[in-house]
Amino acid sequence: MPNFEHPEYPEATLLHLESMVPCRESQVSSLLSIFGERQHFSFPSIFIYGHTSSGKTYVMQTLLETLELPHVFVNCVECFTSRLLLEEILTELQSLSSENKHGSHMPCDTFNDFVRLFKQEIIIQDLQNQTVYIVLDKAEQLREMEANVLPGFLRLQEMTDRNVTVVFLSEIVWELFRPNTGCLEPFTLYFPDYSIGNLQKILSHYHPPEYSADFYAAYINILLGVFYTVCRDLKELRHLAALNFTKYCEPVVRGEANERDTRRLWKNIESHLKKAMQTVYLREISSSQWERIQQDDGEPGHLKGLSAHAHVELPYYSKFLLIAAYLASYNPARTDKRFFLKHHGKIKKTNFLKKHEKTSNHLLGPKPFPLDRLLAILYSIVDNKVAPTANIFSQCGTCYTDWKEPCLLPVPLMNRSAGVLFLPWHILPQETKDHLSCDTPAFNLGWS
């Protein structure tokens, strides 16, 4: 007796579907009941949300394919403009029933065109009597498109007057989507995170054909024991499982242990997995490098991770410019006199710092500062005399673009008082110009 009951579909199909979607039975059955029978009108829009790899895309795809429902599956990240998105949907729709895989290209610029072409296409494809599903994966991207796209899709059923349901798949909640006007509330469905038991079940489900399910399940158990505290992403875990499985099997292959000797196998693999957690999982070294290490049975010690190369060598003045920028952005301007002048006079500490300045400046983040302050600090921290050459000025700009962290050349500085710069605009590198928004007419007229 299958979990899912539905008069429309044969029992065998439903059983197959059940085996395909472990741990997502309740969601699937509620979806099934929402969908109803083929010719029934369904909700105009369904909104499904849940964390990364909680099976949204997979469940939707399996469901629609197993039940052979007419559907269009589009990833919104791929279609970065609304035009691309609409055209993609139409093209997919074309190729639904017809054999030719790639239908002819339909130009579609506005939502209005889309509705018209969509209606035409439904008639051509003879789909009037069935619900057509449009699944928009990664629907977060819709928020960045034109304002009419999201409400348009929400009301697609109403506007086209056809039997169509739009399904949104998203990682964020509906409240963050809701447009101000013209919004039709969709039916929302939540996919909760997989629990550790679920993960165990799903991961063990796909065991390699050479080994028994029990053997693999034991392995998964060890793996989850190590990784579950840091990572609950199913995809990542599956990847890690595949990477380290050969190492786990080694004693068995060499004949030193049999498949049931879990203790010995555990001893063999545990330290290895911990090492993997420090390196591969953080992408310090790549998985192919990890595999090579496993094959050679070598120590990963000789392979330096990405963070080992963190040391950056800079030219002499660039170094000091960076330090100067750091000092200027974190120290209040009032303290400059005290820090950089030799005879600054005594200042009482209690009066010197205002109350709000007693909190660490690092917590408050870098602050904007004028360029001449930066240069003044530079001149005072470099031992010998610094000639104010173009090479140094041009680096003031790159300081901002290259090493964004300590050095924030503020944008207002480049505006009105930009005259201080004394720096011909055209000798700045192009990237710098792009970053320094210049709305002074003087700059636009004179320097470019």
Binding site: T52, N75, V77, E78, F80, T81, E87, E88, H102, H105, Y206, P208, E236, R238, H239, A241, A242, L243, F245, R283, S286, S287, S288, Q289, K304, L306, S307, H309, A310, H311, V312, E313, L314, P315, Y316, Y317, S318, A387, P388, T389, A390, N391, I392, F393, Q395, T401, D402, K404, R416, S417, A418, G419, V420, L421, F422, P424, E431, D434, A442, G446
Partner: protein, 677 residues
């Protein structure tokens, strides 16, 4: 110019083609203002030739240095998609999430050099791995749309190149304004592979090499990689990131969800300092090229490198500039070529050129050291002068040959000393030797002091290295020395006791306390070291091959815009070279351009400048020129034209960033510079 239009408006007049200046060839610029007796044509030709040789040499160096890096990269690329080729459908492949192979190329902060590296990299890839190489730059792709457009564009072009028979089809696609999406990219790839016959492993690799420095790239990347991961099975893609700073930036810029889709391998290029050392070694410390840099010039170039940009390309450009400058400004540079050719050229020198030789300071010194009959002959007879010049040139050549060999020897000694009193790099030693007699310096003294403390085995190793240098082709004239050195070494080895220092050995050998000189080079007895490492300035005719106007170079390469601007406004004669502009410092000349007058007046003001006062001062200065009409001044009515000129000058000053309108007082402007605000 007039138009036939009745309405008022702006009209564009294109310059008629007749008026366009006939562009003169580069060689003409070279001879400008000089008469031809100074062989400008020949100088230009030899300059071109020399630069061509040097350029090819630098390219060769670059290629050799990058070879290992590129080999590693190519191996990585070949491996990365072997799975794709074999189309394995094992369990492993299914389970692993599809990662995009990514090479992270850490290139260092010298961004200007990267272009060359990337260019040669994509050439190498095109030759060895795949015809499909796309190179993208961060600044060219502000958004994902541009990125894909660029990518498709470059790919389609490649495709046309690779298979011209299908050109038509391609043109069709591009005319349709290709729908730039990942889907179409993948479709396109399917087409290509189908057409080229599915049997052949038509690998496809997109290498997106990009300079990755500016934060906005992140957005592009984020999307880019999410997309790519889905198509990876149909579409083998390899990314190559160029990283200027630290590889950690990948993690900082990309969220974990994206970086987990990348299979990143790190490749480190050679550091720019090593690159520079090789370039100096191959270009400067060799007799292969006749052209040499003097100490100051070399110092300027090295300083720009170390203090400002770390860019080897800029160093080479500076070197090129000094070559051009040398051949342009020094008439005798015509003799700056290979020795045989130079000797030939000497015989055909004109009388003017002979006079040029006579006026060289180093030649004058030489003449003064000769006996009086010879002095007269040298100063009066051209033919005798030419003969002497030939021998002098030969001497100079031999000097260089010996100099570089001995310099390398000395460098072997000094690098083994603690604290490096004479510098760690050979370039520092070279600079020291070029400038003055190195043996008179304090650093040299301390180096010798330290040398005495060396243990025997260290010393033997150094001496063996020296012997190697002398044996190498560049040191062939030292064969005599080598024999003696080896004999000496053999005697060293026979000495008993491991911890004998150099000093003790020598005192055993010589049974007396040797002088500093003997100590250092007694093992090269016939080699009088002083004569070999004498500074180049002491050599006769050194002006022919040495470029020493460091100032020109500094002005060109390390410009100071503030100072230049101030000079231009304060002393317009400096740039305009108009005799009437010559004036004393402090007084304001009325012949100067308006902006200079306004500038000088503004220097006398405080933070806020009253425009009315300023205008009055301006008009007083200006009318002093025409100043014959005292009544006009008395009427207190400023002439309209002067008023307009004043306004224009002030707005020019505002444009240059000296003043800005003030909100405190409406008829005032605020000063921005020179302690104004």
């Amino acid at each position: 110019m007039s138009t036939s239009s009745v309405s008022k408006g702006c009209f564009v007049f294109k310059p008629s083609s007749k008026k366009r200046r006939i562009s003169s060839s580069k060689a003409d610029y070279f001879s400008q203002g000089k008469n031809d007796s100074e062989d400008s044509g020949l100088r230009f030709a030899s300059c071109q030739l020399l630069w061509k040789q040097i350029n090819s040499e630098t390219e060769k160096i670059q290629e050799e240095l990058n070879k290992q890096l590129f080999d590693n990269l190519i191996r990585f690329l070949r491996q990365s998609h072997s799975e794709f080729q074999t189309k394995t459908t094992e369990w492993m492949c299914r389970m692993k999430s599809s990662e995009i192979p990514t090479a992270a190329l850490v290139l260092g902060v010298n961004v200007t050099d990267h272009d060359v590296t990337f260019k040669s990299l994509s050439e190498v890839l095109q030759d060895n791995v795949t015809p499909y190489v796309v190179s993208l730059q961060a600044k060219e792709c502000p958004g994902i749309k541009h990125l894909l457009q660029k990518l498709m564009g470059q790919l389609m072009d490649c495709y046309v190149d690779a298979d011209s028979s299908e050109e038509e089809e391609c043109v069709n696609i591009s005319q349709k304004k290709i729908r730039c999406s990942m889907a179409s990219l993948s479709k396109w790839y399917e087409n290509v592979t189908k057409k080229t016959g599915s049997e052949t492993p038509s690998k496809k690799r997109t290498s997106s090499s990009r300079h990755w420095q500016s934060p906005p790239v992140v957005v592009i990347f984020k999307d880019m990689e999410i997309i790519s991961s889905q198509h990876i099975h149909e579409f083998p893609l390899v990314l190559i990131f160029g990283i200027a700073t630290s590889p950690m930036i990948i993690h900082r810029l990309l969220p974990h969800s994206v970086s987990s889709l990348l299979c990143i391998e790190l490749f480190q290029s050679l550091s720019c300092k090593e690159h520079l050392a090789t370039v100096i070694d191959k270009l400067l410390l060799t007799t292969q090229f006749p052209f040499k840099l003097s100490e100051k010039v070399l110092q300027v170039l090295i300083n720009i490198f170390l203090y400002h940009d770390f860019s080897v390309q800029n160093f080479i450009k500076g070197f090129q500039l000094s070559i051009v400058e040398h051949f342009y400004s020094q008439p005798l540079s015509v003799l700056c070529c290979q020795l045989l050719e130079a000797k030939k050229r000497v015989t055909s020198l004109s009388h003017n050129q002979c006079e040029n030789i006579r006026s060289l300071p180093s030649f004058r010194r030489y003449v003064e050291s000769q006996v009086s009959e010879k002095q007269i002959a040298l100063l009066t007879e051209d033919s005798f002068l030419k003969e002497v010049t030939q021998t002098l040139l030969e001497d100079l050549h031999i000097y260089h040959e010996n100099y570089f060999t001995v310099l390398r020897c000395l460098h072997v000694f000094t690098t083994s000393l603690p604290k490096y009193p004479l510098g760690k790099q050979i370039r520092e030693l070279h600079c020291a030797c070029l400038g003055k007699s190195v043996w008179e310096t304090e650093e040299y003294e301390s180096a010798i002091q330290l040398l005495r403390m060396l243990a025997k085995d260290e010393l033997v190793a150094i001496l063996q290295k020296c012997a190697e240098i002398f044996i190498s082709p560049s040191g062939k004239q030292f064969s005599n020395t080598v024999e003696k050195l080896e004999e000496f070494l053999a005697r060293f080895q026979n000495l008993e006791g491991k911890h004998v220092t150099y000093c003790q050995i020598l005192s055993v050998e010589f049974r007396s306390v040797p002088s500093v000189e003997e100590l250092s080079f007694s093992y090269i007895p016939c080699c009088s070291f002083r004569s070999y490492l004498a500074p180049a300035e002491m050599q006769t005719l050194n002006e022919v091959v040495y470029f020493n106007t460091a100032n020109t170079l500094r002005e060109h390469l390390n410009a100071a815009p503030r100072i230049a601007l101030h000079t231009a406004l304060n002393n317009p004669y400096c740039y305009l070279k108009n005799q009437t502009l010559k004036s004393d410092v402090g007084c304001i000349s009325n012949t100067a351009p308006d902006i200079c007058i306004v500038y000088k007046l503004h220097l006398e003001c405080g933070r806020l400048i009253n425009l009315v006062d300023w205008l009055e001062a301006f008009s007083t200065v200006v009318t002093a020129v025409e100043g014959t009409d005292p009544e006009a001044v008395a009427t207190d009515q400023v002439d309209e034209i002067i008023h307009a000129r004043f306004i224009r000058a002030v707005s020019e000053l505002e444009l240059l960033g000296f003043i800005k309108p003030s909100k405190q007082k409406t008829d005032h402007v605020a000063r921005l510079t020179w302690g104004g605000c």
